[in-house]
Symmetry: C2
Subunit: 420 residues, 2 copies
């Protein structure tokens, strides 16, 4: 009950703040962002000290070193977080953009204008830099944010939010533009059901978090981030490109959602290309989960491998592991991907125009790549200058989301007395 | 359990059909739409006969005449429904539109392309023309639809769907592009939770239906249609325009969502304008629910009125009734609207640029009108050529929705071996 009250209170304050934010000029918002960046730099030692508490608590409870690294903020990392805020200040303001418009036959002038969403809830896991990114992207797009970070980063997040709120106050802006949600699961549930008070919830994290949010929320949600990405090497592939793309997609940064999790190889390539790519993957430390045909090729070449289970085709390893299958033809690849795609990013390597055209047309995913690594599905790579997450749903936003995706639109209709 | 199986089966068939639809050319889709229109014309007598059964059943169960009229299909109305399908055939195809794109520094060519949603569920009430409209808009935008009409129109809807499915089959297209959901509430619940099988659900109907869908659905929903629209007559209004707009907004078609439900009048207008507008409204048969100040004005002029209750300010009458309040100033109007708006359409009547600018900027609604009737928030009026509903939510679509709103996008990335 108290959690519900807390969330209602937090949401009401955020709503009030959001009305101020919606009216701010770009200059005012950018000044506030630069003030936040400076404040983060000035508070670097406090942030690192708070972060040290989280790390100590994490280590004491047996947190693995990979997670400890994601959680850790050094003075250099704090400086990078502050610089990211300055980068956001430099981006164009999405608010006020006229998306379309016309003058109707009766003289009414109509235009569809970008406006802030209002109050945006972010629910995310470890990395504390998301706390600052989300607040800064929210502010730039005129939205108040309610942040719910992982409990592992609790002290860090609290310090970061305090620093940012104080900077807003010093700028004469409402501190409630940036809210931090405390409390247990009840508080999260209250946030997810604050329909009408909260306009949008963006979950960022593992499949379990996303699933919970999607199932429990009555507030509109943008689903992000689960990526079971495939690379399909077609019969007509340039095999050098295929090798480079497969290795890059799998090994460049295995822990992220746009890394490849499955490799599909055309049956005509089992003799030469398949052993070669399996050897290179294995040499890079990648565990190979093979179907019978790929297993035979690995076996013949003396490459370590394990038989793929049914689950492997649907697994987002986020690690140096890959599922490998041989497919009879392009249709086999399309069928396999349709059955197992998470709708994030799917890639084909081919020099055959017809195959590329069918693949890009028939595959239903946020991004479809021809002769490029799956790793390019990214707001930064696409030139957006920022990213709040990668949507894998079809409603509102699909693929990398940046500032415009944090806005909605409003129709403004101006007349001189028109009636129907 | 059997309902669940039915929905899963229906959704699976719709998914298979949607894959065919997504690849159809505009020419193929338009030919199918024209064939459907011709088939509806040819089956007019069957449709009218099926409709007569629904009407008989309705009358026997005491259906009010207004609803009977909405339910009724005459030969002329069937012809109009068929013509509406021809109009949809004449609209541009949204699928394939390149929304944006660029060539990145590394040579990757990226473009964001409009693609169909996939499978769209429509849940709606009485009017059987929605059955045909939704199917036609779905087909034009490359989507398979699962239709759930009101039980009052059951025979009519079944006949309409059979006619349309047969027309698709005759065109060599999958009949499962148009599915009709039978069964009770369990079937609806199964549809609402068919996440992953159904891509989008659009409810069209009263507040109760919308609320149920929004609360129970795990499939993404676009909320439509509840309109508690306000007309605010400012101190600087042209009073002739104000009178015409108020009367039009309230009385032109009171049963629809863009009709006005509340009138707010600036305190400076209580002497002359207020009695005049109240008299005209009352003369047009409108019941006046007045706040104390408006009540005094009505009383003094001998105009019938009833005191407004707290509920009146939030009531969508959809009838010849209106709530009337006197506000001290523009801020009072903004506060009142913020407290009671359903986010559909809000209008100001004023010749004051500053007041108009504040109103259009500060009011958070799908459409904000200056010196125009609220009745203009409509896909047809906006020149979209069709309308599947009016979204009152902020995600994906806001305001009148037509063909583009039934699509999502996909990023197509073409390279020649790029890696990160």
């Amino acid at each position: 009950m108290s959690a519900v009250l807390t969330v209602a209170d937090l949401a009401a304050k955020a709503r009030t703040a959001s009305r101020r934010l919606a009216l701010l000029s770009r200059a005012d918002k950018d000044a506030a962002l630069l003030a936040i960046a400076d404040a983060l730099d000035a508070a670097s030692a406090d942030v690192v000290a708070a972060n040290a508490q989280d790390i100590e608590r994490g280590r004491a409870s047996g947190m693995v070193e990979g997670l400890v690294d994601r959680l850790t903020l050094t003075p250099e990392r704090v400086a990078a977080v502050a610089d990211a805020v300055r980068d956001i200040a430099a981006l164009p303001d999405p608010v006020g953009e006229v998306v379309r418009g016309s003058t109707l036959a009766n003289g009414l002038q109509i235009r569809q204008v970008r406006v802030p969403m209002g109050v945006v809830g972010m629910i995310y896991e470890a990395r504390p830099n998301v706390t600052v990114d989300a607040a800064a992207l929210g502010l730039k797009s005129g939205n108040a944010v309610i942040l719910r970070g992982g409990s592992a980063a609790e002290s860090t997040n609290r310090t970061l939010v305090t620093v940012m709120r104080d900077a807003l106050t010093a700028q004469g802006l409402p501190a409630d533009a940036i809210g931090l949600l405390d409390g247990g699961r009840d508080a999260v549930r209250a946030l997810l059901t604050a329909r009408g008070q909260v306009d949008l919830i963006i979950p960022r994290g593992g499949a379990g978090l996303i699933q919970t949010v999607v199932t429990e929320s009555t507030v509109p949600v943008i689903e992000t981030g689960v990526g079971n990405c495939h690379v399909y090497v077609d019969a007509a592939a340039d095999l050098d490109k295929a090798l480079a793309i497969t290795l890059n997609a799998k090994t460049h940064r295995p822990s992220v959602c746009n890394a490849a999790e499955s490799l599909l190889v055309h049956a005509s390539l089992t003799q030469e290309f398949l052993p070669k790519v399996l050897a290179e993957l294995s040499g890079a430390g990648v565990v190979l989960h093979t179907d019978p045909a790929a297993g035979s090729a690995a076996e013949a070449a003396g490459i370590p491998h394990v038989p793929a289970t049914d689950e492997d085709w649907d697994t987002e390893y986020l690690a140096l592991e890959i599922a490998v299958a041989v497919v009879p033809d392009l249709d086999g690849a399309l069928d396999h991907i349709r059955a197992h795609s998470s709708g994030h990013t799917e890639a084909i390597v081919t020099e055959d125009r017809a195959a590329a055209r069918r693949f890009t047309t028939e595959i239903d995913a946020a991004a479809v790549m021809v002769n490029a690594s799956t790793r390019f599905t990214d707001g930064g790579e696409f030139g957006f200058g920022a990213e709040i997450g990668i949507s894998t749903q079809k409603l509102h936003a699909r693929g990398p989301m940046a500032l415009p995706e944090l806005t909605t639109t409003k129709w403004i209709v101006e007349g001189d007395g028109q009636i129907r």
